[in-house]
């Protein structure tokens, strides 16, 4: 009885592709076929190639490549770019091709009385030759367009998938999706022979194209829903799976406080930020947001807690240089494995990728403190506010589960020259929208009083705990923030 859900459940096989197995909740259905559909240039073929390559190199599972799209020669040449030597795999009988690309010379049909048994026989021949456990078919649509007798093609496909299922061979196949296609596939058979369907697409960003995939269906198995971003680099595929949000046990603790090491500020906060909380530090340019973050991390390291700095505002080297000027040697801390820096290109930030980077950086050194500098850069460099919200939501769930305390800097406009009694009017809408994610807000302000600019700080919100409601002045000095007197008009 207790095995009810497990019984008959489809076993999965790891593809070995970074991130994809997590996104598909353990890989692709073993001994079954998975269809990858998408437009031209979306990266379908790269997925097939890496599935084979990882099979051979990581799992000692040999493969067969059924190539309808390109010739064997071209494919061997193409994957050399990833540093993969198919020629040697072929020589070692680890990889075999069914070379079925476009033919030279004319092909005519005399009647439609034919079958595709040679294709099946060639496939079986290749499978036997290398004792394959994996097989890929590139360009199913090509097979359909080449023969007038669609029934013959359908029949062959049914037979092939049935045979492969019997042999326990796991199959990935691709089909080109045209812009005008409504359904999943064009010839009304692919979905029936495939137990899983993954759709991939290219989306235009501000400066470059972003690659996304989503699992459309997986018969009898689970997968993570939602859009997953991925990249193709010189080593193959890099998929950024979403973090599962279920089974998260919060490790927040109001009794454990994370101090800044800034006298006065820590007192205002009742000792520091509660463990596992996400606190927004908001202020105009020049208010020292980055400085507060640095000191927060530095104090963590003094307390034996490792740290991660997410540098989106300025280059990592610049951050380190500024820190050094105050006597904080982040380079040394980095070498000693106490701090990790995360950075990314600032146009078309992929939130999934950044999430993956931040989490890897945290996991690598079991960091307990994180600074994101800043949310405003994220907002201006990402396509939508909604994506940033999603990113922060996922980050916050993860941090809470791990008991990681986080400071998010946010550039707040119009906080200069606030008039009497208007000190708090400058909280921008961005910050308001983020308020459900943030456990606390520390606000930094400039005011002009008596021909002088004063820097002021107040704790606006601190979820579930007492905090000072006063406004204090502060100064940025060499060596860090120095809190001043209570501010009174």
């Amino acid at each position: 009885m207790q095995n009810r859900t497990k019984k008959g459940a489809v076993e999965k096989v790891l593809t070995g592709i970074r991130g994809l197995d997590e996104a598909l909740d353990g890989g692709v259905p073993k001994g079954r076929s998975t269809l990858i559909t998408g437009g031209t240039g979306t990266g379908k073929t790269v997925i097939l190639n890496e599935f084979l390559y990882q099979g051979i190199t990581q799992f000692k599972e040999n493969g067969v490549y059924v190539a309808f799209e390109e010739s064997k020669k071209d494919i061997i040449k193409n994957v050399k770019g990833f540093g993969w030597n198919y020629a040697s795999f072929i020589a070692q009988k680890k990889l075999a091709f069914v070379d079925a690309g476009a033919l030279r010379g004319m092909t005519f049909e005399s009647g439609q009385n034919y079958d595709l048994i040679p294709l099946i026989e060639r496939m079986n021949y290749a499978l036997k030759k290398v004792k394959a456990k994996r097989l890929v078919i590139d360009g199913l649509d090509n097979l359909f367009s080449r023969f007038r007798n669609k029934d013959a093609v359908r029949q062959a496909l049914y037979q092939i998938t049935a045979e492969l299922k019997d042999l326990g061979v796991t199959v990935l196949m691709t089909e080109e999706k045209l812009g005008s296609d409504n359904g999943l596939s064009r010839y009304g058979v692919e979905e029936f022979v495939a137990d899983g369907v993954v759709e991939i697409e290219l989306v235009k960003g501000q400066q470059q194209f972003l690659r996304r995939m989503f699992a459309v269906k997986f018969r009898g198995t689970g997968f993570r829903s939602g859009i997953i971003e991925f990249e193709i680099n010189d080593q193959g595929l890099l998929v950024y799976p979403k973090i599962p949000v279920e089974n998260v046990v919060a490790k927040t603790d109001f009794k454990v406080r994370k101090s800044f090491g800034i006298k006065g500020l820590d007192d205002m906060l009742g000792g520091g930020i509660p463990q596992g909380h996400m606190v927004l530090v908001s202020g105009n340019t020049g208010t020292g947001k980055t400085m507060f973050g640095m000191q927060f991390l530095k104090q963590g390291m003094r307390d034996g807690e490792n740290a991660v700095f997410v540098a989106l505002e300025e280059p990592v080297e610049q951050v380190k240089k500024t820190a050094l000027a105050h006597g904080w040697d982040f380079n040394r801390d980095e070498k000693e494995g106490k701090v990790n820096f995360v950075t990314t290109n600032l146009l078309d930030i992929s939130n999934d990728k950044l999430l993956y980077q931040v989490i890897s950086a945290v996991e690598r050194i079991q960091a307990k403190r994180v600074v994101v500098d800043s949310i405003s850069t994220l907002l201006s460099a990402t396509m939508s506010e909604e994506q940033v919200r999603q990113f922060l939501l996922q980050l916050s769930r993860y941090f809470k589960a791990k008991g990681v305390t986080c400071i998010m800097n946010c550039l707040s406009s119009a906080s200069f020259g606030a008039a009497r009694g208007q000190l708090l009017s400058s909280l921008s809408t961005n910050e308001m929208r983020l308020s459900s994610i943030t456990d606390g807000i520390i606000m930094l302000l400039f005011v002009e009083r008596g021909q002088k600019i004063k820097k002021l700080l107040t704790v606006l919100k601190m979820r579930g705990s007492q905090h000072s409601k006063e406004i204090f002045s502060y100064e940025i000095e060499k060596g860090g923030i120095k809190m001043g007197d209570k501010y009174e008009e």
Binding site: V98, D99, A100, L103, R104, G105, M106, T107, F108, E109, S110, G111, Q112, N113, Y114, D115, L116, I117, P118, L119, E121, R122, N124, Y125, A126, L143, R146, F147, A152
Partner: protein, 93 residues
């Protein structure tokens, strides 16, 4: 007379479809190309490697190797005109 036309016919076992194609092509060849053609019949089930080398996907497939260019025709080869045209075979006389 020297052999002028070199052809291969790929079939699958001894199915009626294969037999029909063989019978049909022989009829065409024996009428118009008697003595100047060679026809090799290959069973893909026994010779998958040859099918791989010639990139055969369907049976029956008739390939004209010589004279160039290489041309293929798939199906039962019943339509004589189509076979001659498709393979660019010029009937004698």
């Amino acid at each position: 007379m020297p052999v002028k036309y070199v052809l291969k016919l790929y079939v699958t076992g001894a199915t009626p479809r294969s037999q029909a194609a063989l019978k049909n092509i022989k009829k065409i060849l024996d009428v118009d190309f008697k003595g100047i053609y060679s026809l090799r019949v290959i069973d893909v089930i026994k010779n998958p490697k040859l099918a791989e080398d010639d990139k055969i996907l369907a049976t029956p497939t008739l390939i004209k190797i010589l004279p160039p260019p290489v041309a293929r025709i798939i199906g039962d080869l019943l339509d004589r005109e189509k076979v001659l045209l498709g393979l660019d075979l010029v009937a004698m006389g």
